[in-house]
C-alpha cells in the first residue's frame, strides 16, 4: 500500500527561509511566531488608525479584543489587575492568534509543541510567585497553610498544597498542548483516510471519501471553538494565579 498514516509528521520542525534560515536553525515554528506577532500588531495598528467614534470592522475587532481582556483582568484579579493587563493581553492575543493561525491549511501550529506552552506556563507561574513575594514578603508562604487548620494536620496539608501549587504549570501547559495537538492529529487521521480510500478503492473510494471529508469540515468548526476556548482558559488561569498571588486566597 502506497499511503502510510503518519499523523505526527506534521509537528516535525524544519528550517524555514531557505539556506539563511538553515544556517541559524530558524524553524517554521519561529517563522509562524513572527507572522502571528505581525498579525496582532497589524490588527491593532491598522484597526486603530482611523480612530473613528463609530468603529469600522477592524477597529471594532481591535477594540473588542482590548475590552474583553481588560474586563477579564479586572473581573479575575480585581483593581490591581490593571497592572497585569499588558501581560495578559500579550499572552491571550498570542495564544488566540497562534491557535487560530494553526487552523489555516498548510500552516504550523505553534501551540502544539509542549516547549512553547510549557515556556509560557513556567513564565506565568514564576511571575505569580514573584508578584506574591513582592507584595506580601515572606507572608506569601502562609498561602500554603489554610487558616483555622488543626496544627497536627499542618505537615500533611502543607505538602499537599505545595504539590498542588507545583502542578499548576504542568496542568496549564499540558491542557493547551494536548488540545491543540489532538485536534491536528484527528484532522490528519481523517485526511489520510480520504487519501487511502481514493488510492485503494478507485471510483467507489472517491465517493466514500466524502465521509471523512465531511468529518474534517465539522472538525474545523469544533477546532475553532477549542482554539478560542483554550486561549481563553489559559489567560483566565494566568489571571487566577495572579489573583492568588495578590490576594493570598
Amino acid at each position: 500500500m502506497a499511503t502510510t498514516i503518519d499523523v505526527m509528521g506534521q509537528f516535525k520542525l524544519t528550517t524555514a527561509l531557505g539556506p539563511v534560515g538553515a544556517s541559524v536553525n530558524f524553524t517554521q515554528s519561529n517563522l509562524t511566531m513572527v507572522v502571528v506577532c505581525a498579525l496582532i500588531l497589524g490588527l491593532l495598528h491598522l484597526g486603530m488608525a482611523p480612530r473613528a467614534v463609530v468603529p469600522g470592522r477592524l477597529q471594532a475587532a481591535a477594540e473588542m479584543l482590548y475590552g474583553f481582556v481588560h474586563r477579564m483582568c479586572i473581573d479575575q484579579i480585581g483593581e490591581e489587575g490593571k497592572a497585569f493587563f499588558p501581560f495578559i493581553f500579550t499572552l491571550f492575543s498570542f495564544l488566540l492568534f497562534s491557535n487560530l493561525f494553526g487552523l489555516v491549511p498548510y500552516q504550523f501550529t505553534v501551540t502544539s509543541h509542549l516547549a512553547i506552552t510549557a515556556g509560557l506556563a513556567v513564565f506565568v507561574i514564576v511571575l505569580a510567585t514573584f508578584v506574591g513575594l513582592r507584595t506580601h514578603g515572606l507572608h506569601f508562604f502562609s498561602y500554603f497553610l489554610p487558616e483555622g487548620l488543626p496544627i497536627f494536620l499542618a505537615p500533611l496539608i502543607v505538602v499537599v498544597e505545595v504539590i498542588s501549587y507545583l502542578s499548576r504549570p504542568i496542568s496549564l501547559s499540558f491542557r493547551l498542548f494536548a488540545n491543540m495537538m489532538a485536534g491536528h492529529v484527528v484532522f490528519e487521521v481523517f485526511a489520510s483516510f480520504m487519501v487511502a480510500m481514493a488510492a485503494s478503492l478507485g471510483a467507489i473510494g472517491y465517493v466514500m471519501a466524502v465521509g471523512p471529508f465531511a468529518l474534517d469540515v465539522a472538525m474545523t468548526g469544533f477546532e475553532l471553538l477549542v482554539a478560542a476556548l483554550q486561549a481563553y482558559v489559559f489567560a483566565v488561569l494566568a489571571c487566577m494565579y495572579l489573583h492568588d498571588a495578590v490576594h493570598l486566597h
Binding site: 499537599v160 498544597e161 504539590i163 507545583l166 499548576r168 504542568i170 496542568s171 491542557r175 476556548l229
Partner: protein, 100 residues
Amino acid sequence: MTDAPEEGADFDRRLAEARQRQGLEKPADPAKAAATSLLGIGMRVGVEMAAALAVGAFLGYWLDRVLHTKPLLMVVFLLLGGVAGVRNVWRLVGPKGPRP
C-alpha cells in the same frame, strides 16, 4: 455634547429602548451559559488530577534518589499527589469563597 448626568441617563434609557425595539437585547440563556462553563470545567478536571499525581510521583522519585530511601518516599508522595489532585478538583468544583 454635554456631560449633564440627566442627559446621559436619558440617552442610556433611549438607547436601551431602541435596542429593545430592534431585538438586540437577547435575554441571557442560563442553560447555554452553564453548558459553556461546564465544557470549560470538564476540560480542566482531568488534567488537574493527572498533573498533581505526576508532580507527586516526580517529587517522591527525586527525594528517594537524594535521600536513598527507595521506594518509601515515592509511595508516600504518590498518595499525596493524589490528594493534591483531589484538592485541585475540589478548588475547581467546590463551593466558592475564601479557602473552603
